[in-house]
């Protein structure tokens, strides 16, 4: 049976009543030990009998057509089995939730580094050697690679909004900010590279991969190969980080499947780190102009956020840069416009918090500039501009605790100690503090899970949901345990297999809410059955530690059950998503030191306060906060893909030169949650948290730099060369 819920109205706060004590507690991830002990098998570690090794071959031109591939240049090399997939090779990975094949350009090249074939050999080293020596002839065309000078510019549908009169608001305002910010491209840079092992059993394909959204990935893979999705099984129980980089099926999976079919033996393809940078999604670079108009009291009367991003021709995705600028602050006069430059750089797609991550680097910096102009404390300025309802749609917020995040955070951080610009100096270091708001839209997605309760007091949760390192195994087990009245260690969670009921996948911060709700519903259906056996109404039933209580009756589960009870939970978004503006909120506080000689910035401490509805596991939620804040430090200070100005090639395509924060860049991070339940979000009353921690974090760092030394970096990241020239020698 299936327990189905379309989220059309407020649901009872059942998790407040159940009383098992499994939910919210900071439980360790059950698979954590396996992972740190190297016993969790990741995609690149699967082996199959008689397996061959594939290595992708990249284009070394920016745009044009492959005219010939000289297979003879490699087939005589030792171990080489052949060159494959030239016709089926996709240009780019599928965009998130595409559910259909990505463009397969048949030898047309649209960016430097695009995969055009896979070479398969008896060993990985042989394949890699052949891949670097395959002779390919091209007919090259000139290509535009600079978004600033591109001749083809689109304004995507729905990315233009003109409300009131922004020009008039700007000219009438007592205070204005009109500033342009730029952010560089990023890569998801997950520790685990993209990897797939393809095995055919007759017409049926089994793929061991590293993917975030299996239900969609299966459709994408099948469509790419031209086969029935029923014949495809994807297995992805552990994913070594996704961050958007593994949302859609990528080239190595399709290449492995094609080569394995032709060779009639299993083929494994693992991308090298350089290939991950060149072939998979990057976050677009952006140029953002933010205008703010405020009256003499610092009330915002106008807000405009315009941006230029880029992508390849015919790619549907464009970074929703201004997404949170639509609702973070009020103001009657509003203007938004996006331009997408069509250029020949590596495909742009979703990277953790698409939109918010870079949009808030600009908006929250502009708010700091407005605070300075109006002379109002930046915390206060933000609080006083929080709108009552969505300033464009007029919808009420499902919950909005931004003011509390800012207030509680200021108190805990010691914000009142903040000095004027350049006023605090410790030896060679300027020291300053910054603040920024965080917002990340909350989303519920359709999701299914099967929950089975056994008479011995154990339970099983099954869904094709993925755990990309975030704690999905933990929280799904906790939800089932809480609902079924079992200690968490009695619940086994099986994930990452398309043979299991289809889930939302991990992306858009919706995984915990969506997959979690489906588990909740499955367990709820089981509760109804138990209530019936016990002879009480479901609302009266108490389940705790394997004992059912209700209607003056108290029985162990084993006595009530003649066998396992299995129920499927199925959640779908409903009208609460249309009738309420839903978002997680938060506030970041940061203290930095800026070296007066070199302009080097060191983050000294950081606090984030989040409001994300019910916290399902305090530990994994905190870790998401930490990860987001660290990403924010990277966005503010170090991370940037560099493209060669001549051919768009990614120059710094490895971890030596693509600088993510290292331990020494990350101080003690403090994370706090405000108490909040969101009745309109889902039956768990939770909101997404995976991307909230990153939203705004980098702006708090940049604002702290300004407070420390008076240098306003509007061109992220704030590397030393952008700071020291403005400091006295």
């Amino acid at each position: 049976m299936t327990e189905h819920l379309k989220m059309d109205k407020v649901q009872p706060r059942m998790l407040d009543e159940t009383g098992q004590g499994a939910i919210t507690v900071p439980m360790d991830r059950p698979e954590g030990r396996l992972k740190v002990a190297g016993q969790a098998t990741y995609a690149a570690e699967y082996k199959a009998e008689n397996m061959a090794y594939g290595v992708l071959v990249r284009a070394t031109i920016t745009k044009g057509q492959v005219t010939s591939i000289d297979e003879g240049s490699v087939t005589s090399l030792p171990g080489v089995l052949g060159v494959f997939a030239t016709g089926k090779m996709p240009r780019s990975p599928a965009q998130g939730t595409a559910g259909a094949a990505p463009i397969q350009p048949e030898g047309r090249v649209d960016y430097f580094g695009q995969p055009i074939a896979v070479i398969v050999a008896e060993s990985f080293e042989q394949a890699r050697h052949a891949a670097s020596n395959l002779k390919i002839a091209y007919e090259a065309e000139t290509a535009e690679t600079d978004p600033e000078t591109a001749s083809e510019i689109d304004v995507p549908d729905g990315q233009l909004l003109d409300q009131g009169d922004i020009e008039a608001a700007m000219s009438d305002a007592a205070f204005t900010v009109d500033a342009t910010y730029t952010t560089p491209p990023h890569n998801s840079a997950a520790m685990e590279p993209h990897a797939s092992l393809a095995e055919w059993h007759g017409d049926n394909l089994v793929l061991h991969g590293a993917y975030q959204m299996l239900k969609f990935n299966r459709e994408e893979l099948a469509d790419s190969l031209g086969i029935d999705p029923e014949k495809v099984r994807i297995h992805s129980p552990y994913v070594g980080g996704g961050f958007g980089g593994k949302l859609g099926i990528s080239q190595e999976a399709i290449a492995a499947a094609v080569a394995a079919r032709e060779l009639k033996r299993p083929v494994r393809v693992v991308m090298a780190r350089q290939q991950v940078f060149e072939m998979t999604m990057r976050r677009t670079e952006s140029r953002q102009r933010v205008r703010l108009a405020a009256d003499k009291d610092g009330k915002i009367t106008g807000l405009a956020h315009e941006d230029r991003v880029s992508n390849l021709p015919e790619e549907g995705f464009s970074e929703p840069t201004a997404v949170a600028s639509h609702f973070l602050y009020g103001g009657e006069n509003r203007f938004f416009r996006q331009e997408v430059a069509r250029i020949h750089r590596t495909t742009a797609g979703s990277v953790r918090a698409p939109g918010e991550a870079i949009g808030q680097l600009a908006l929250e910096c502009a708010m700091d500039e407005l605070a300075e102009k109006t002379g109002i404390d930046p915390v206060q300025l933000r609080i006083q501009n929080i709108p009552e309802k969505h300033p464009e749609s007029g919808l009420p917020f499902s919950s909005n605790s931004l003011a509390q995040c800012l207030t509680d955070g200021a108190e805990r951080f010691g914000w009142s100690e903040r000095k004027g610009v350049g006023k605090r100096r410790e030896g060679e270091w300027f020291v300053g503090m910054g603040v920024a708001s965080a917002a990340r839209t909350n989303i519920l997605m359709e999701s299914r899970a099967r929950v089975t309760l056994n008479p011995d007091g154990t339970a099983l949760v099954e869904t094709d949901m993925t755990d990309i390192g975030t704690g999905t195994y933990a929280i799904l087990g906790q939800i089932a345990a809480e609902m079924l009245g079992l200690p968490t260690e009695k619940v086994t969670v099986e994930l990452g297999d398309t043979n299991l009921p289809g889930a939302s996948g991990s992306g858009g911060s919706w995984g915990a809410a969506s997959a979690g709700s489906s588990v909740f519903l499955g367990a709820k259906a089981i509760r109804s059955k138990i209530a019936k056996s016990l002879g009480c109404a479901p609302e009266e039933l108490r389940l705790k530690d394997g004992i059912a209580t209700g209607a003056n009756n108290r029985r162990p589960l084993a006595e009530l059950m003649s066998g396992p009870i299995s129920e499927e939970g199925h959640i779908e978004p409903g009208t609460t998503m249309e009738e309420f503006a839903q978002s997680g909120f938060g506030a970041h506080f940061c203290e930095v030191g800026v070296n007066a000689v070199t302009g080097e910035v060191r983050v000294r401490r950081m606090l984030a306060v989040f409001a994300a509805g019910r916290i399902l596991n305090e530990k994994t939620a905190r870790s998401q906060g930490h990860g987001g804040m660290i990403w924010g430090i990277g966005s503010a200070l170090t991370e940037a893909i560099e493209h060669d100005p001549r051919d768009g090639r990614i120059v710094n395509h490895d971890f030596a030169e693509y600088h993510m924060p290292v331990h020494l860049d990350v101080p003690d991070l403090d994370v706090m949650f405000v108490e909040e339940l969101d009745d309109h979000s889902n039956p768990l009353q939770s909101k997404g948290i995976g991307e909230l921690g990153l939203s705004g974090a980098g702006a708090a760092v940049a604002n702290a730099i300004y407070n420390a030394c008076g240098v306003r970096v509007r061109d992220y990241p704030a590397t030393p060369d952008k700071i020291f020239p403005h400091l006295p020698e």
Binding site: T60, P78, E125, Q126, R128, H129, S132, A272, Q274, E428, V597, T598, E600, R602, L637, T638, E642, D644, P645, R646, R649, V651, N652, H653, A656, E657, H659, P661, V662, H663, L664, D665, T719, P720, D721, F724, P725, E729
Partner: protein, 323 residues
């Protein structure tokens, strides 16, 4: 990666093989082999050779070529008498890499120029005569001093900067078994028209040890400016030793990283300092001398003012004179 023959040397003579490449820690060589930037047919593993000791006496120290960067940085003699070296080592790479990386290998690590490591790109160092893609490309990390029209790469080592400031000499065992010593000045070649030739080492030459004379008493400094707090190569680094007597600079030896194709040292600069009373004007003069011939390539123009600021700050710290 191209397949190769692997030989383990059990005595120095084994390291002398025609066409063979020496492997020590492998932290640089293996990366370059995977990318086919280096494609040796034969690897000679020298890590079993007896070149692992640090021998210090009153005159100086002799460091075996196989001493790891971690061991060298932690050695009590080095920490006490050659502090600049210990600090430079600890400012480089990561703990894991330093555990594996050797003294000889560190001296010979190749440039981090990203065009050098991508075989699709023209690079005179990797493929002589093919051109230099870094000129006109992304060159933020490349050289402002000592470069040529053929190559603008930097030498990435921190350790070598300290050694250059300490007047280290490289002990080389030639293919004929003969031992010779070369100062780092002589050891590293400037790119000129042949950037592929980086050192005086010829075929069959093995670095056996490094000799460093004991520095005169003075203050040591190693200051490295980088894009993140750790695990990043120097944008600019300054290392050296300076002594003051009677209010005047008695001796100064300074070397620079991140600026040039080899650890950089400028005799004129040191000469200008010695015998002088330290003050801001003197530090400015020193920076003028260092950067007189500096030339930016666009992205790396900032290194010129950054080197000036860093040198002056280092001199302030070394002399205790802040004005």
């Amino acid at each position: 990666m191209r397949s190769f023959e692997y030989i383990r040397a059990s005595k120095p003579e084994d390291a002398v093989r025609s066409g063979a490449t020496i492997i020590a820690g492998g932290t640089n060589l293996l990366d370059l082999m995977k990318l086919e930037v280096m494609t040796p047919e034969t690897l000679v593993d020298v890590t079993r050779l007896d070149m692992k000791s640090i021998d210090a006496d009153d005159d100086g120290v002799r460091i075996g070529a196989l001493v790891t960067n971690s061991d060298l940085a932690a050695d009590p003699h080095i920490r006490r008498d050659y502090a600049v070296l210990s600090r430079a080592l600890l400012a480089g790479a990561s703990g894991q890499l330093r555990n594996k990386a050797t003294t000889g290998g560190n001296l010979l690590q190749r440039t981090r120029c990203t065009y050098f490591t991508d075989t699709s790109q023209p690079c005179n160092k990797r493929d002589p005569g093919s051109g230099c893609a870094a000129i006109g490309g992304k060159n933020r990390i490349l050289a402002i001093l000592g470069a040529s029209e053929k190559c603008i790469a930097t030498h990435p080592s921190d350790m070598a900067v300290a050694m250059r400031a300490l007047d280290a000499r490289v002990e080389i065992r030639g293919h004929d078994g003969e031992i010779r010593l070369a100062t780092l000045d002589d050891f590293y070649l400037l790119p000129g028209g042949n950037p592929e030739k980086e050192t005086i080492l010829g075929e069959g030459d093995l670095i056996t040890s490094i000799h460093i004379p004991k520095p005169e008493p003075g203050k040591h400094i190693y200051r490295k400016v980088r894009d993140r707090s750790s695990y990043a190569f120097a944008l600019v680094s300054v290392g050296g030793v300076l002594g003051i007597e009677g209010g005047k600079i008695a001796h100064a030896s300074l070397a620079f990283g991140g600026l040039a194709p080899r650890p950089w040292r400028n005799a004129e600069l040191e000469h200008a300092l010695v015998g002088q009373t330290p003050d801001a004007a003197l530090f400015d003069r020193a920076a003028d001398i260092l950067l007189a011939d500096a030339k930016g390539q666009g992205d790396n123009d900032f290194k010129i003012p950054l080197a000036r600021r860093t040198l002056k700050a280092a001199l302030r710290e070394l002399t205790g004179v802040s004005q």
